[in-house]
Structures are given as C-alpha cells and as structure tokens.
C-alpha cells in the first residue's frame, strides 16, 4: 500500500495577496460591461484582450515565466488562485492558454533564441500566445495570438500567426474566440518530439485542465453569489424568493458541489507543481468536479432567476455560457472520469494512487 500524499498546505499570505491583487484589478478592468463588449469585438481584433495590459503590468500574465524574462517564476498553486479570479470575472481572452500552458511549455522546450524572442514579450503583455494541444479541434484566441504553440503527431511546434490560416468557429460564448487552424508543420517550426515532447505535452495538458477547473470554480462561485443576491431581493407571494425551500435547495446543492470541488482543484495544483505520480488522477478529479459544479451552478442560477436570467440583456448568461464552454474544454467531466477509471480500474493500471 502506497503512502497517501500529504494534504496540501493552506494558501500562503503571498498567494492570497496575489489573488487579491488579481481580484481587485479584474473588478476594475473587467466589469460585466467589458465582458459584454468583448462579444461585439470583431473576431480578428488586433487589440489586446480585456484587462490584458493591466494584468501584464501587475505581473499576472507573466507569472509563470522564468524571472530572467521578467516573469514571476510561479507555480500552479499560485496561479490556480488567480485563475479562479479570472473565472469569477468571466475574463475573456487567453490567460489560461498563455500563462498556464504556453509560457511554461516554451520555457521548457523553446531553446534560447525562441525564448528570447517570445517570453519577455509574453510576460510584458505584448505577445499573446495560443495553444492547440492533442485532440482539441479548435484553438481559442488564435486570431489575436502572435505565436501559436501547436501539437502535431506527438511533436510540439511553434508557429507565428502569419503562417497559419484560420477559420472562425463562433462559440455560444461570444467572448470566446475559437478557430480551426490550418498550418504546415516543418522542421523549422518543431520544438521537440519523442518522449521529451510527450512528457511536456502531458504536463501542459494537465496545466490547461487545472486552470480550466480553477476558472470554473470562480465562474460557479459568481453564479451562486449573484443568484443569492437576487433571491434576497426578488419577492413573490409577498416574500423574498430566497425564503422558499425549493430555491434554497437548488442553491445549497450548488454550493456544496463548489465547496467539494475547490479542495480538489487545490490538491491538483500541488500535484501539478510537485509533478508526482498522482498528477493525472488529481487533475482529472479536479476538472470533473469543477465542470459538474459549474454546470450545476449554471442550472441553479438560471432556474432561480426565472425569465430575467433567460434574457440576453441580463448579465447572467455571460457566466452561464462560460460555464458551459469551459466545462467542455480541456476534457469534460466524462472524459476525465474515464481517465480516472482507466487508471484505477484497468488491469494494467497501478490502482488508485492513494487509497
């Protein structure tokens, strides 16, 4: 029997301070009106994504970059808390892709010339990075990316925007810019192949799934907080709808799911940072629970709002649609549950990593 991993420590004061900085910055730079405005921007907009410059200036975009490129050299537990805030604000744009996935991938595989060329700019917010890994058919924010990090047949490639052809694939979440990417892999674009690429791709995918899980918790928390506020003021039958048990139970169940999801995300963040053998299980647990929690929160939020929540003019749908799309991205709950099933149940597997 293997020794279970120790419980992760509580967030440090530095981690909480970074989170608070991000929260304050996002509430200033990315209010709901800004999220809504992102829906109307042309897909090929050259301008930086919402709050991008401010986030970069605060060290958030580059927090994963090595310090010699002006980055923070931070690891998953630090940025997971920030990703939660990005979800809470429904921040549009590729913070997840650039910061959690692409920067560490380039830093690991890029070589001096490529890192010199891109990482400083990415950390400073001048260069936006997009990623297309594994089976994902679409690349988010490809149109406004300067460099795309793409997987091809087990190899990692870095391709400049000018060298790819995009077909926009509009998403139900209008602030999410998806495109199919056509491009030509070549020796010049290839950063790594073989086992070295495979290990980095697996780690990059888990960082993406973890970041999505953290954002989903933030999205879900906002959905429930906003709905609780509404349920306190909307009256029917002469009393606040939040006093009705049916409404309470919708919201309480959603709250319980969120409360159980976050410790899984936090645990996964430490598994990603520690690169232990249980990383895949920890990440899949986090993403599966966070996806389900966010989808449940979206259902509860809409139901408890009634028709006002169903209207396009109300802000609720900005978060609801982010819940739908992020829940499906980076492996949905079913995909991650199956990944756990394969690891714990199949004959060749080592069994549960900790039980």
């Amino acid at each position: 029997m293997r020794v279970p991993p120790p419980a992760p420590p509580a967030p440090t004061d530095e981690q909480l301070a970074l989170r608070d900085t991000a929260r304050a910055l996002l509430s200033r730079e990315c209010p709901p009106a800004r999220v809504r405005a992102a829906w109307d921007e042309p897909a090929e907009a050259a301008a930086a994504p919402p709050a991008w410059v401010a986030l970069a200036r605060a060290g958030v975009v580059g927090m994963t970059a090595p310090e010699r490129f002006g980055g923070g050299g931070l690891d998953a537990p630090d940025w997971a808390l920030v990703m939660e805030e990005a979800g809470r604000a429904a921040l549009p744009g590729p913070l997840l892709e650039t910061t959690a996935v692409a920067i560490p991938l380039l830093a690991a595989l890029g070589g001096d010339a490529l890192c010199d060329r891109w990482l400083g700019g990415a950390a400073a917010g001048r260069a936006v990075l997009a990623v297309g890994l594994g089976g994902a058919p679409y690349v988010a924010d490809a149109a406004r990316a300067h460099l795309l990090v793409l997987e091809h047949a087990g190899e990692v490639h870095a391709v400049e925007r000018a060298a790819v052809t995009l077909t926009a694939q509009p998403s139900v979440d209008g602030a999410r810019r998806l495109a199919r990417v056509a491009w030509q892999p070549s020796a010049a674009t290839c950063l790594a192949d073989g086992p070295r690429a495979a290990a980095q791709l697996a780690a990059a995918f888990d960082r993406g799934a973890l970041a999505a899980a953290a954002q989903l918790v933030g999205v879900a928390r906002h959905l429930i907080e906003a709905t609780v506020d509404y349920a306190k003021v909307r009256t029917q039958f002469g009393r606040a709808i939040g006093s009705f048990q049916a409404v309470k139970h919708h919201l309480a169940r959603a709250h319980v799911a969120i409360e159980l999801a976050w410790p899984c995300v936090w645990r996964a963040a430490h598994a990603v940072a520690g690169a232990g053998a249980d990383r895949a299980i920890a990440v899949s647990l986090a993403k599966a629970r966070a996806s389900a929690a966010a989808l449940g929160a979206a259902r509860a939020a809409l139901q408890c709002h009634g028709a006002i929540g169903y209207s396009f003019e109300h802000d609720l749908h900005l978060w609801m649609k982010r819940a739908w799309t992020l829940a499906a991205a980076w492996g949905d709950a079913a995909w991650h549950t199956e990944r756990v099933a394969a690891l714990i149940l199949d004959p060749t597997s080592q069994g549960p990593a900790h039980a």
């Binding site: 609780v228 139970h249 309480a252 169940r253 709250h255 159980l260 410790p263 149940l345």
Partner: protein, 391 residues
C-alpha cells in the same frame, strides 16, 4: 479534540511515524469478521474489540491522555481513521458516546463529569445511547415533550424516546428533556444523562430496515436523575445539543477514511467482476471513487482550518450532505456491478462478499435521514452559509 499543533516539517515526520505505528498495530490486531452489532453476541464482540483498542491506546487517539487518548492532532486522527478502515476495522460501537456525547462534555461538561464519564466511555465500559428523537420530535427536535421535574437533589423524568440506536444493549442514555413548559421552545430544554437500568426505565428494541435489532424505544416513568447528571445549564439543553450536532454531522462522526476504504473495496469488486459489468457500471464505480477522494480533500481542508484556529460550524452540514450521498453512491455502484447477485444476503451460497454490499446499502440509505435529514442540512447551508432568509 486536543489543541492542534501547527503544521511544520516536524509535524510531517511525526505524522508519517504516527501512520506507520497505527498501521502496524492495526494490521496485527483488527478482527477478521464480527457479527452485526444489533444482536447480543455481535454487540459483545464489538465491545470486546473496542476494549482491546482502548487498552492499546487507539480508541480515542485525539483525546487528552488523562481520558485515555494520546493527544493526537486532528491530522493524526484523520490518518488513524484512514488506517483503521483500510485495515478493515469495524464501525465503533462506542460511537454514540465518543462522537456525540463527548464533544458536548468537552465543551460544556464540568471537570467532575469529564473525569467520571470520559474514560469509561472510551474504554467501552459504559456504552451510551442517544435519546433525542421522540414520536413527535424528529427534524423538529425542539418539539420534545418528555419532561424533567425538579425534586430534592435532582430530577424526575417522564416520557418516551425513540429510534435510539442500540439502546437495548447500552448502559446509559444522553438526551433532551423539557424542564420548563412555559419557556419558549428552545429555552425550556435541559440535557440529561440517564442510566438505562434505573427504576422506571423500560427499553424495547425493534428492528431496522436490514432486520437487525438496532432501534429501541425508551420509556421513562418517574425516573430519578441526580443533579450531577445534568450537562450544561438548566434550560441550556439546546446549546448542549448544538455542541453535538457539529460533530454528528461532520467529520468527527464520518471521517473520510471509512469511505476511502469502501471505495477501495468497490474498485476491487469491479476488478473481480469486470467481465460482466457494463460501461455504465464502470462509470458509476469511477464516480463514486472520485466522490470519496473529493470528500477526503474537503475534510483535510476543513481540518487545516480547524488547526489554524478557524471555526467550521455550519460547514459540517456541507460535510454531512457529501458523506451521506457518497456512501449511497458507493453502494449503488457496487450493486450495479453485482447485477443479479446484488440481492443475495449473508448466508446465500452465491452471495459475493457474504452479502456485505446489500447490507451496506441498507445502512447507507439511513445516512440522508439520521444526524439531521439532508433536507434540513440544505436549509442550514442556505440560511447559515449563503445567508438566505428563513422561511
């Protein structure tokens, strides 16, 4: 629970040593199979095991040493629970004393009460039953009608308690009685300790869903209880009961170790039966296993908050909803895997694991009912954690 030590590098080393020591002892001593608790011979067998645990210092690891514990931290207690159930340890027959009465005594009992009651409770010398529910008072606990009337040197108790787990095998009962019929509902209650062999007490066992003799009614007719067996203030019974509910709902009663072990047995069951299990069973097994992991991570986070001196009061309702539903999910998944053999009970020649899963399923179904129904817990979450208005 004793003062938690701050997490340090040394604590990690201590915890690893603690785990190793617990594991070694448990592997060598946990009994293979005990008959169900709800029978005279099963109860006696569980009591004997509990005494062996106590003698080795493992019955109440997190209690102070003077009461028979070893001053373990919360983290160590969670580790012990993981090891206990992983080794196949049976549920604790002392539970309704150790997990339900003791937390209230630690918080509100007198030193005399603690010195007199805690050690025999942990040593399984005095077995305790919980006497809260009455025919007219279930979820609405403050509706209890059993009374206690002041007399010289103590009180005279009248009334009826029900659903009292294993009271027909226990020595004493702790519960709520109405001492002031004119006071507002929650204010007129007092918490009493009642010997079940006192004159005027009649205990009548009856069977649970699974057929075991685990329930009992307790009838009280002019039962004398001395003043020293009042817990907390006269009229302060509700406060004592609330000191219990936090632990009853939360991790003290149902730590993750129990469910991690059940989830592990589920994985092993699936591996044995995979040839006949469907893809939907497989998904249910994985999901239930993940539920147990999530509850573990949640509990460790809560334990960290406790160790840091934060209070986790209404959060115990979140825990209760989580553990009770995941327990049902684990059993549901197992029954799905077993298919046509799921209904076979202990003794059936073809029963897998001697019918343990259908037995466990029946007990799991009680989880959403006892310790405050899940509907009540959802109300608590909504009102106390989300701040929604009362009905």
């Amino acid at each position: 629970m004793s003062e938690a030590r701050a997490a340090t590098g040394d604590a990690a080393t201590d915890d690893a040593a603690f785990r190793a020591e617990a594991r070694a002892w448990l592997r060598a001593h946990v009994p293979r199979h005990l008959p169900p608790m709800g029978s005279p011979e099963g109860f006696a067998a569980h009591v004997a095991w509990e005494r062996a645990l106590f003698d080795a210092g493992w019955a109440v690891p997190a209690w102070p040493a003077r009461y028979g514990g070893r001053d373990a931290t919360i983290a160590q207690w969670l580790i012990f629970e993981e090891e206990y159930y992983a080794a196949g340890g049976p549920p604790h027959v002392t539970q309704n004393g150790v997990s339900l009465l003791a937390p209230a005594l630690f918080e509100l009992g007198t030193d005399e009460q603690k010195d007199r009651l805690l050690r025999p409770m942990a040593a399984a010398e005095v077995l305790w039953a919980q006497g809260w529910s009455e025919p007219g008072a279930g979820s609405d606990l403050a509706a209890v009608r059993s009374t206690a009337t002041r007399v010289d040197g103590g009180w005279r108790l009248h009334g009826q308690k029900t659903w009292s787990t294993r009271a027909s095998f226990c020595h004493a009962m702790h519960g709520l009685f109405r001492t002031d019929p004119d006071a507002p509902r929650h204010k007129g209650l007092t918490y009493f300790l009642v010997p079940l062999d006192a004159p005027g007490v009649r205990v009548s066992g009856f069977r649970r869903l699974d057929g075991d003799l685990d329930f009992a009614e307790v009838f009280l007719d002019d039962v004398f209880v001395p003043d020293r067996d009042v817990v907390g203030a006269v009229g302060g019974g509700w406060k004592v009961a609330m000191a219990t509910t936090g632990s009853e709902r939360g991790m003290i009663l149902r730590s993750p170790g129990r469910f991690l072990a059940a989830a592990q047995r589920l994985v092993e069951l699936y591996r044995r039966a995979r040839a006949t299990a469907s893809p939907l069973d497989r998904a249910a097994v994985a999901r239930a296993w993940m539920d147990a992991q999530a509850y573990q991570h949640y509990t460790w986070q809560q334990a960290g908050k406790l160790a840091a001196g934060q209070s986790v009061a209404a959060e115990s309702s979140v825990a209760k909803l989580a553990w009770s539903e995941l327990d049902v999910a684990i059993c549901d998944a197992a029954l799905g895997v077993l298919g046509p053999r799921a209904e076979l009970v202990e003794g059936a020649p073809d029963a897998v694991d001697d019918g343990a899963w259908i037995k466990a399923y029946q007990f799991a179904l009680a989880g959403p009912i006892y310790a405050g129904t899940n509907e009540i817990q959802l109300n608590v979450v909504a009102e106390r954690l989300l701040g929604l208005p009362r009905e």
